[in-house]
Chain length 356, copies 2
């Protein structure tokens, strides 16, 4: 298919991966699995549909240099730093404007930079029809079959009926549910996780923005084409004035022509915490996942992440997250991995910029 | 009192303090409490009785340079490296020979380099009569009133009678007891811990060695005086041929003229493991002893030892020993602190000389 483009959203911080994650080394550029970072793996897995020269990346000033370094195959001018954090609607609108100015027939897919997909071939089998439906003028969203009653994700409701597969209208979008609602969703079988993967023609998306988010749409429409000399300066001026809102709230929940592709098991994982990294790793007979030079005695269920040049010895300890870096060491109960981000908030309060 | 000398035995390794302790940074030269190492504190506390120029130190080749650096007040020629590890009897015999060759009236006290004494003034009040009794020709041993039924120390049995204080004949020396025996000792009240502190005239000790350990006594007696040019070379030749035996077995258990000074609470602690270091530290309201730049959330009972230039964050963890050094990190359950030495044995087997 021609006219296809990928937008990778790579502006997040991933503070739950401190002390490995820092402002200039956020989650998406870290190598948790093998020797390719999450964003490198994202580009790799899209390759059967989107060659690197069709990939565009939106990130921030802290991260851009590292991403440029990690992805030499992606044209440098297509890796852009957002002048301000404005959530997904303005970012996606900006990218749609850019692509529209290059190729009025552009069809774009939006992909998070920091997820894992364990079965990339099955994934590609979903991406192709998603792009096809988008080319036909629809707004397309990928749904992930839920594996537990997660309260941390939004859900996509489909009409009751067959399981995963095919393409179906979306009945509704649901915000992060409470535990009882999440359990009911799981039980019902027609609610899927919203993994932030969307497909549309840039003309369709820009039209939807004009309809549902006119202020931001007008600001973005006022930008010159990407090829213009003034583009960079104008973007820095205009972008911060856009509304701070997600594409889900701004467009998806309101648009009429939304269809979903309910995905079966594609091994999707949003790698939400060190505990997720632990669970995705190979573990030894005692349930230890060891990414360091280690000496382990009577210890189990631990995740250890350190430098190859340093020995980490464990004696009689269990279910710990141990992440050692040159200037900071984290030792956390594995069940508390979600709260690592709170440590970063404390460091921010203490103005420990050296550690952020 | 004149003719008094102190011998500090500083040849141990203290592997239970890995990764802080290394061959060239053994327990006795580490700074666990304040900014003076254990051997510096040993010299400091003896000062009211023994000025530094009366202090002699036996150590090994790995440690000598560090001890010379830490104790500039002790004459460098009095800090000697044993040519081989031969336990306490040959070491003490060698020191007695040296002192005898310098001062035939010498009275020597023997002190471990790596203990803590919380009440140094009370301690000095015991040292003075100990030296006095030694000067009168007795072999004197200090006993420490037991605080629990410890199975890791030898015991000194006194005649039943009053508690601590004064000077009394020794009924017997007892090797490390089993738990039931240790409990009986504690219950009986007339058994004291043998802390390895002894006092005698060098002439008396050398006489006892001739009687009870004649081979080693003859070897040592054959050495030239300390002032001789040949002393160093001869010592290197002779010392390794001495018997590998402790002074307790070789002399104390057999000699007739042994008296003991049963000490009350002088705050003695042999600092046997990281857990002892933890217990001797100031702890916060959650029972954490923190010797590092730390960020602590919902964690208690931990000992943390690190560099000031590195943040150590604890989240939801309890009763851990955390010791961070540039090339090795230890995370151990505090109840397993005694077994840290076993980790070092494993490293020795793996020939990880860089970490020993």
């Amino acid at each position: 298919m021609s006219h296809l483009y990928g937008l990778i959203l790579a502006g997040g911080r991933g503070t739950r991966f401190w002390p490995r994650s820092r402002r200039a080394q956020a989650k998406q550029v870290l190598k948790f699995f093998g020797d390719r970072s999450l964003i490198q793996q994202t580009v790799d897995r899209l390759r059967p549909v989107l060659p690197p020269e069709r990939i565009w990346i939106l990130t921030n000033d802290y991260l851009r240099a590292e991403i440029v370094k990690q992805l030499p195959e992606v044209p440098k001018k297509q890796i852009l730093a957002e002048p301000a954090q404005r959530n997904t609607a303005p970012a996606i609108g900006l990218a749609a404007h850019i692509l529209q100015s290059i190729d009025p027939e552009a069809v774009m897919g939006v992909f998070p930079a920091d997820h894992v997909i364990g079965k990339p071939r099955d994934y590609i089998k979903l991406i192709k029809p998603a792009f096809k439906a988008a080319k036909e003028g629809k707004i397309v969203v990928l749904g992930i079959e839920p594996r537990w009653a997660e309260t941390g994700y939004g859900y996509i409701e489909f009409p009751k009926g067959p399981g995963a597969g095919g393409q179906r209208p979306v009945t509704s979008f649901r915000e992060k549910p409470d535990a009882a609602t999440a359990a009911a969703f799981l039980q019902a079988g027609n609610f899927y996780w919203n993994a932030g993967m969307f497909f549309w023609k840039t003309s369709v998306l820009l039209g939807a923005l004009r309809q549902f988010l006119p202020k931001t749409a007008t600001l973005i429409a006022g930008l010159p084409p990407f090829s213009s000399r003034q583009f960079g300066a104008k973007m820095v001026e205009v972008f911060p004035r856009c509304e701070n809102i997600s594409i889900d709230y701004a467009v998806l929940e309101k648009a009429r022509n939304v269809v979903g592709i309910p995905a079966g098991d594609i091994g999707w994982n949003d790698v939400g915490s060190w505990n997720a990294v632990y669970e995705l790793q190979h573990r030894d007979a005692n349930g230890n996942a060891l990414r360091a030079d280690t000496l382990v005695v009577d210890s189990g269920g631990n995740y250890v992440d350190g430098a190859k040049s340093k020995l980490i010895a464990l004696l009689g300890v269990h279910d710990l997250i141990v992440v050692d870096t040159p200037d900071a060491l984290l030792i956390a109960d594995r069940g508390r991995a979600q709260q690592v981000g709170d440590l970063v908030k404390q460091l921010e309060k203490q103005k420990r910029d050296d550690l952020l």
